[in-house]
Symmetry: C2
């Protein structure tokens, strides 16, 4: 953009339209509760309202902005205070503004030299997080380890698994000696991203061992040990254990300390996936949930979930950066430069699959500075308190039952009338558009999941939603 252009948007027009987009967003947030939380359109409905062919001539930005009216019915409102599906994907003013700057300046930080601030701010805030969350020092950039921002926990897990694969096979995964031999371990309640990572990394789905969970849906360490020993006897090479701090299903907490000791004994890469729940460690009183992190080779959590930093922002910490860079670094001539050659700088392109990288550290910078440690703690604690209040209300209703422990901000519950009733209840709830919850299956039963953590969610919103759930349950009975 510049002052004058016949083809491109000028800076004057950008200012005018930029203000309009800001106004549009303000209006969106001020009226967000008027929209159905879960979009109610039919498949294909949005497309059928879009022009069949692209325009030959350009259109005015005013017109283009008004296209949002066509798209709005097809939006599911993740920032609504009544969004209780999946997990919070909480955003905030400073995060959005930081992203505007990152996107607006359009810098790319693949190498240190291509924007030193992009690399150094990222390193700095990730070192901050190690302290803010009481993580082991080995995850700091001043050691052999360090942190890196990825898009999602799926990518963080994949990169860890690739590191583990190369570690266990001495960089010769595809050789006769190790092929079909490397085994990975998850609990039966782990996230699907681990199975996906195993497929993507080429380990073969049969290499994944699913370890039994206890009645709180956490991995049984003795079963893990048992399976590892069987596998070793059978000639396999146990390679990768993924333990969850807060499973997606129920926020179950795998016992990291015990699992960690087993991994250490058998020299297995322990990856800890705390995608949503990790943010709780901002509060010292919840850090016990990840006791044993010192045994982990890698650890991931997503500030874009429960830390007010909008999507995408997953952070991956690693105890030895060489374990991943040696698996992924390829530096051709056209990427060589002075800084990298002297080894004085970090080139994050070697820590992730994409080569190009946005200035995502800026979001974390602005969020941490805007809220301060105390503000972030307040946000987490309020969500946990609100969750306990909802839990008490559900417990007081004889028609409902809570089906899993509630350590943080997710409640899994069911109506006592059985799976088919819960399925109908679930659909009826989401069809109201007043709130959006998702489901899971536990012991073969249809279970409702109520997730808490929306930036603007208050106990009043939650109370209203709960009353509505009770009312619908009566109506469809």
């Amino acid at each position: 953009m510049n002052k004058t252009s016949k083809l491109h948007m000028t800076t004057d027009e950008f200012r005018k339209q930029g203000y309009k987009v800001i106004d549009w967003l303000v209006e969106y947030y001020e009226n967000i509760e008027d929209y159905p939380v879960l979009s109610q359109v039919k498949p294909g409905e949005i497309r059928s309202n879009l022009p069949k062919d692209p325009p030959i001539k350009g259109r005015s930005y005013n017109d283009i902005l008004s296209d949002m009216d066509i798209m709005m019915p097809g939006m599911t409102h993740w920032q609504s205070p009544n969004f209780h599906a999946f997990f919070p994907c909480a955003s905030s003013g400073p995060a959005i503004l930081a992203d505007m700057i990152a996107t607006g300046t359009g810098i790319v930080g693949m190498l240190w030299e291509t924007s030193p601030s992009c690399t150094e701010v990222e390193t700095h805030v990730l070192d901050w997080l190690v302290d803010m969350m009481g993580m082991p020092e080995k995850f700091k950039s001043s050691t052999n380890g360090g942190g890196v921002i990825q898009d999602t926990a799926s990518s963080s897990t994949l990169i860890s698994l690739i590191g583990a694969r190369e570690y266990s096979s001495n960089g010769e995964f595809n050789s006769i000696a190790t092929k079909s031999k490397l085994t990975s371990y998850v609990s039966s309640h782990s996230h699907s991203s681990i199975e996906k990572a195993v497929k993507v990394a080429g380990l073969g789905k049969n290499s994944l061992r699913v370890i039994e969970a206890d009645e709180a849906f956490a991995m049984k360490p003795e079963k893990l040990k048992e399976q590892i020993e069987i596998d070793i006897l059978d000639g396999y090479i146990p390679t990768f254990v993924c333990a969850s701090v807060g499973t997606t299903n129920t926020t179950a907490m795998d016992p990291i300390l015990e699992i960690g000791k087993i991994c250490k004994k058998y020299d297995i890469w322990l990856h800890v996936d705390a995608a949503m729940a990790g943010a709780a460690a901002l509060c010292p009183e919840f850090r016990y949930l990840q006791d044993g992190l010192e045994y982990a080779s890698s650890y991931t959590f997503n500030p874009h979930k429960w830390m007010l930093t909008n999507f995408d922002c997953s952070v991956l910490f690693i105890d030895d950066r060489n374990k991943i860079t040696s698996a992924m670094s390829v530096v051709p001539e056209y990427l060589k430069n002075k800084g990298s050659e002297t080894g004085e700088v970090i080139d994050y392109m070697d820590w992730s699959i994409p080569l190009g990288r946005k200035f995502r550290g800026l979001k974390l910078w602005q969020v941490i500075n805007y809220y301060g440690i105390e503000g972030l703690q307040k946000y987490i604690r309020e969500d946990v308190d609100n969750t306990q209040k909802l839990k008490a209300w559900i417990e007081r209703d004889d028609n409902f039952e809570i089906v899993a422990p509630v350590p943080l901000n997710l409640i899994c519950f069911k109506h006592k009338k059985g799976s088919e009733f819960n399925r109908r209840l679930h659909e009826a709830i989401n069809q109201t558009g007043k709130l959006y919850i998702t489901r899971t299956k536990i012991n073969d039963e249809y279970i409702l999941r109520f997730s808490i953590g929306q930036t603007t969610g208050t106990i009043n919103h939650i109370r209203k939603s709960w009353k509505l759930i009770q009312k619908i349950a009566e109506e469809i009975d």
Copy 2:
């Protein structure tokens, strides 16, 4: 965000600060030529100016915005009209505004249901691109194929390779039958992302066959055929050929048609990587460069490079979506929903490594609508014209020599005084801060790369840069 909050940014404050950030961006673009294009800071310099510890109490947004003054010296200005490094990573007003909406609304489109507009607008604009660029119909969503947005071409290539790996091994890559048997093929001038993908996908670096290039740095099809036949005789399973439309080194054009016929004959997955140069196909006169695309199983190009759509936005087209979804789809209970179960909708989470996805289709929507087909064509044509003008100037200077064909918007050239002189010249050029160019190596010589395509770049900027290069060459002589 909402009207009142003690903890979070209110909508009133967001409006105020949002306007300020817009003003900040306008000022940034209006003064962008005052900054050194390539950041001149030393390693660690930016970090040393950041506070050691995170703040306990939150800070005002005014203060936080002024932190940009600390970071600015560490920014390399990718949107400067004098940025001629790597490749254009061209942004535009409508792209930035669209991203503000995508980021601001904070929706996540992993499943169709989690925002139908996110999925359907993406599908719609990618179908548009098939027509706009004269691609084969098989890449449209109305067939078995279709397009999907990825972050970068590295990811697009990785996903194609994984699809190919599973296709060639019948979903049993990690079995004895295919162990160490799958081979991939690239030209000696291909992008490093293919080697990286081969490592990540676990095929082993020895499985990559580097095919000789001709004097124009394009893959020699007869050498490809030769190598494939040798490999088959030796018991290997040729799996994946990556052909480039515009290599990163020199924009060399691999002969897709001839390569495609070979791939067809031996049933090998042909992936065409047109990351930067693909956008040229917006103009009918350049489509001959990708003749033979009907033989490709997958095709990728990055609108975030030469199509005015800011980072990140790489598009991947595939002729049979099942080839990639079968390699990557894992659907656990908590992601099940009505739309997906009936098969009526696309869930893009199965087309990419991350589960979560931003509303990136909106950027393409706004860019295509703002410029129209004619506007985009005008932009491409002007860059190609400007490149030819620079080429003529370089040719007229007896001290310099052009070392590779110039089909589009990249010039590889050298001073005739040899590699050491070019190395010094290169460093001196970038140290001026007046322009930024990168290097490569061809026939073991140090070569300068001058890339054209900046949104605000004009022939005057290029002329000035060229004169400066001539002047520096004289000075350091």
